[in-house]
Symmetry: C2
């Protein structure tokens, strides 16, 4: 190692807790990358501007280490500062954008989501499974004026959402067993499914019927209907849904009025995916 | 440095080119963070799956270094692999999401964009300035079915867009001079503004009239009209636009039909921002 390389290296003591001791890492592990990404994630709606001390505390870093990561991110254009307060810069979006542009599904699906929304006048979304969560990768809201805090990148626990249930239903049996064995079912509303046994039964029903309908289990007043998007190998690449205020349609009305156009949209996306992957 | 820390440290020889020699870095600089972020950005629409060698070549890393970054990102859930091919995982969206949720402007503006789109039946977007680019931070498409490849995170050169011009017009004179002194004006269409002098004159006009209208300078067939969003201190926090296919409205029709609702939407967003920041 040149002394030059060493100078620009990661801080010698970067943590107030010996994480390495708690969680042994592989020899390849680049801890400074983990820590730098953690610094980016320290910012959110409730922490739009952070001081160096805030970042050090939130990420479990020394002030010296937090300073190195923040200044490096500032040099790279991912963070802005007035000298005291730090905030994220729009360049951070490039990172998420790398993922979205690397994914063909949203691009293929979006025109179909727009067509579906124009037809049923309700919002439609596309999501993929990431661990125990569904993550939104496309969303077309209705022009109806309402405040919906769902965007691309939003995560919800899979068990409480219609898209999550169709994606869970598409898992290999062993993965579903593993999921059901460890899932913590939080009562998000008083209708949220309460036991792994009930969830397993509901997922079996979803698998059989080919769609999921969730009635106010994620949020009071919100119903949603979802169908899987299967790639040419039959693997569920994602799920598409339509969500609707409970006041606007009963469960029966949703199934009658929204299920046929939803299944048509899902089939159209699947057809385009097959063309795209040829 | 403990031998333990050293083992998990950044690779000793990580680059085929001696970047440090070319670009001297500050002592605080964490190069492995820069390199890890570059690995994330190596993936895009044309590079959805990459081998270790692809990543090494794209990022100017040795194979050993590329392997460390890819495996670390895989451990952290940002990258997936089948053992040979690597691709980004949805968790990468959390990074961009950190930025979006740390920004109050899109949240405040979105209901107004939706209302504007419902009223004028054309798409509306919100963007902020990042260096020489505008970056989209919110977008409400019309329900009209068309293929638009603009999403949150999309960047365009500021000089060729209506939102860019209102944001440039809001810069302090010294920053505008610096921008005009270095900007490279690419002829994106045969109408794109061609000289810094013309651009300066147009920006002066935009500043005076309080809005910008760009006629097919970014893309053939696309016209757009934008207005600034000023915070309580009078600083332009962003810009809102309406974009329209050239076949649907002349420049005069756009100014007549779309300017009043656009200015009303901008004023409503500004009013909400002031309430929000009290």
């Amino acid at each position: 190692m040149s002394s030059h390389e060493e100078r620009y290296d990661v801080p010698r003591v970067t943590s107030t807790i010996d994480f390495d001791h708690l969680m042994p890492r592989e020899p390849y592990y680049v801890q400074s990358l983990e820590r730098g990404l953690a610094v980016i994630r320290a910012f959110d709606a409730h922490h739009r501007q952070l001081t160096l001390s805030d970042v050090a505390r939130t990420c479990g870093l020394t002030r010296a280490a937090a300073r190195r990561f923040l200044l490096t991110l500032t040099d790279l254009g991912y963070v802005r500062t007035d000298g005291r307060l730090f905030s994220l810069a729009p360049r951070v979006l490039d990172l998420g954008y790398s993922f979205l542009s690397s994914l063909s599904l949203p691009e293929v699906a979006e025109p179909h989501l727009e067509r579906l929304v124009a037809r049923v006048h309700e919002s439609s979304s596309l999501s993929v499974l990431d661990g125990d969560d569904v993550v939104y990768v496309a969303r077309v809201p209705t022009s109806r004026i309402m405040r919906v805090a769902i965007n691309v990148g939003t995560r919800f626990p899979a068990y409480a959402t219609s898209m999550g249930r169709v994606l869970l239903a598409a898992l290999p049996e062993s993965e579903l067993d593993a999921y059901l064995g460890k899932v913590k079912l939080e009562p998000l509303t008083d209708r949220t499914i309460a036991s792994p046994g009930e969830l397993r039964a509901e997922i079996a029903r979803v698998r059989e019927q080919g769609h999921a309908l969730v009635d106010q289990e994620l949020e009071e007043g919100l119903r949603a209907l979802a169908a899987p998007i299967r790639d040419r190998n039959g693997v569920a690449a994602g799920a598409v849904n339509v969500s609707i205020h409970a006041a606007r349609a009963t469960v029966e009305e949703i199934r009658e009025r929204l299920l046929p156009p939803l299944l048509e949209a899902a089939a159209a996306i699947e057809a385009d995916l097959r063309i795209g992957s040829r």
